[in-house]
Symmetry: D2
Subunit: 201 residues, 4 copies
Amino acid sequence: MSPTPQRSCLQDYPYALTITTRWHDNDVYGHVNNVQYYAFFDTAVNRYLIERKVLDIHCGAVIGLVVETSCRYFAPIAFPDLVVAAVRVDHLGNSSVRYAIGLFRAAERSTGAGAAERSTEGAAERSTKGGAAAKSAPALELQAMQPTQSLDPATEAVAEGHFVHVYVDRHTRRPTPLPGALRKALLELRAQSPEPGKSCL
Amino acid sequence: MSPTPQRSCLQDYPYALTITTRWHDNDVYGHVNNVQYYAFFDTAVNRYLIERKVLDIHCGAVIGLVVETSCRYFAPIAFPDLVVAAVRVDHLGNSSVRYAIGLFRAAERSTGAGAAERSTEGAAERSTKGGAAAKSAPALELQAMQPTQSLDPATEAVAEGHFVHVYVDRHTRRPTPLPGALRKALLELRAQSPEPGKSCL
Amino acid sequence: MSPTPQRSCLQDYPYALTITTRWHDNDVYGHVNNVQYYAFFDTAVNRYLIERKVLDIHCGAVIGLVVETSCRYFAPIAFPDLVVAAVRVDHLGNSSVRYAIGLFRAAERSTGAGAAERSTEGAAERSTKGGAAAKSAPALELQAMQPTQSLDPATEAVAEGHFVHVYVDRHTRRPTPLPGALRKALLELRAQSPEPGKSCL
Amino acid sequence: MSPTPQRSCLQDYPYALTITTRWHDNDVYGHVNNVQYYAFFDTAVNRYLIERKVLDIHCGAVIGLVVETSCRYFAPIAFPDLVVAAVRVDHLGNSSVRYAIGLFRAAERSTGAGAAERSTEGAAERSTKGGAAAKSAPALELQAMQPTQSLDPATEAVAEGHFVHVYVDRHTRRPTPLPGALRKALLELRAQSPEPGKSCL
């Protein structure tokens, strides 16, 4: 409803994760359903925490409860696009953290005309090689999975949102201060956020 | 229930697609829920058809109805693993096609100890560079997305299944012969399947 | 992050839909994942429109694009709870509508001790009747599906959010005035909203 | 691919659970996506076990791993249909159980012409009552949630499948005999299955 929302761009976020879309992310209108955007948010935030080894899903004494989320949708995404989910920390409290998340669309190269021809050539070539074909084919397809290497840092988000975690004791479910290692990882993420004037906002 | 099911391996399939897992693919037991495996099947098959430009979701005169699917589960997968969904054609009829699909687990490099340290170094380095950090960070993460380049062709499937499409007229929903371009793409996929004796089966 | 958010209650909404939870709505922490809440929002809004026959998914000249959503989470829900998704219209513009949605938890009766015993008795009784058993069993289970008949109108929401649709021309995707029948259905929904002083807010 | 598969009917199953469909169960073709059928299977089986108090998700010493599933699709389902997921036990081993599941379509009454008119009347009536309207509206909608009371026991399945659980020790993940209470609940389910000649098969 906001008349002209300011859209963030890729360089506004220090962390980014590429996520493959799935056939049934699309709904009856042929685009990724609004609900799935939150699955991308959830995945990017938790993936960062797991990667930094500060989230122990099974045994951690504290767990992060999601208390608030939101999303604004600017432009559609559709399978088989790749999505880049980018994360920054907007606020770090005693027991809570507020993330800002931007989603970026990276159309797959392999759906372009050139890729399809390349693929056909590859198929012809491989079919003469017999068993060797199977070995090379998967590697070939994998080359389609590197979208942000060519995404311009000034690329505008197709959607933006926020995500608030409050950390609680696993058993009492009462708010608890962020554990030290987690706080350190979040402080680093915040420190990596672009300086004012270097961002698109 | 089968006592010792024979498991296929990556080289038994001519086409493979890497799919990123999501936080909520895991269920309460901490592994990817059995239902999601079929989302990987669905995505890999349709992605191949879109890539070969033989599936026109919105305007095609014929559509593929799924009439039968199955899956056997050999070993767990869990977020944040990558999944490689590999496809071959087992039978091609007049109006139907039966795919065999194998799922392979590619643990993410970045969750290993080395990767985490590298990531920490990168963060420290980037935080001294200010705005430039944001530009390089996403590209860094993307390096985690190339699993099958290092997957051994003899890697065994963690799950296997089949998937049968019957093509019908979009309006009458009656079976119809496979359109020529689609049949050609499926014949190529079948032709690329490994010769007997070169596969794991 | 809001210190003490005011929670709405069931009587603040004129329309309510009961939704059954599913096994895999629960995530690794054993509660319905935050993303699924938006699936309940989406379902309740679209269900109202379909029920009022003002949404023609396949052939309508206009379609509703979701441009903004949000949710605040107050208390957990978990499979096999039933969810009541309640809807009101907060703002009706020329080409857009803003819904407020409240989610309410209705624990299933059949998971209580009494129900389980009743079920066991039923089983014993039925097993002596042979084939007739199969006929009556499904009907028995269905009795568990009537939660809000006993939900107090003062029940507080476990989550609350909003959902904004902008209507666009199906082909040009440019905003378009709400069609007359749709506007009428939304005006009625707004008219049924409780008077100030009769609500919990 | 089977030329004329024999379809089971509702009376072939002793347990049935009604599940509400959701907006995004439908895929781009406007019907419930093939993957979701397995979510209905998973939900019905686990719901039976929870209801019988023989599944302790969080603390049980054993857990059921899904090792094999399949589904044949006979006819489409689409949101906002209700689905009835019906379960019987086909085989009970020492540490495993094989369920057969049938899905049945129960079109919602409220989408019929009569229901829509009734709903409009109700709205008009309620709008004259002010605050009281909100109280009665939810109960009204709930009446749409009782499909199988009017489903004929001879109704044919729109889909059928199977689902095999192997029980393992939660920690070692090695197969373990079914706990006594679980075995009892499964034996009862099997005992309630219709006698030969009374079923549709």
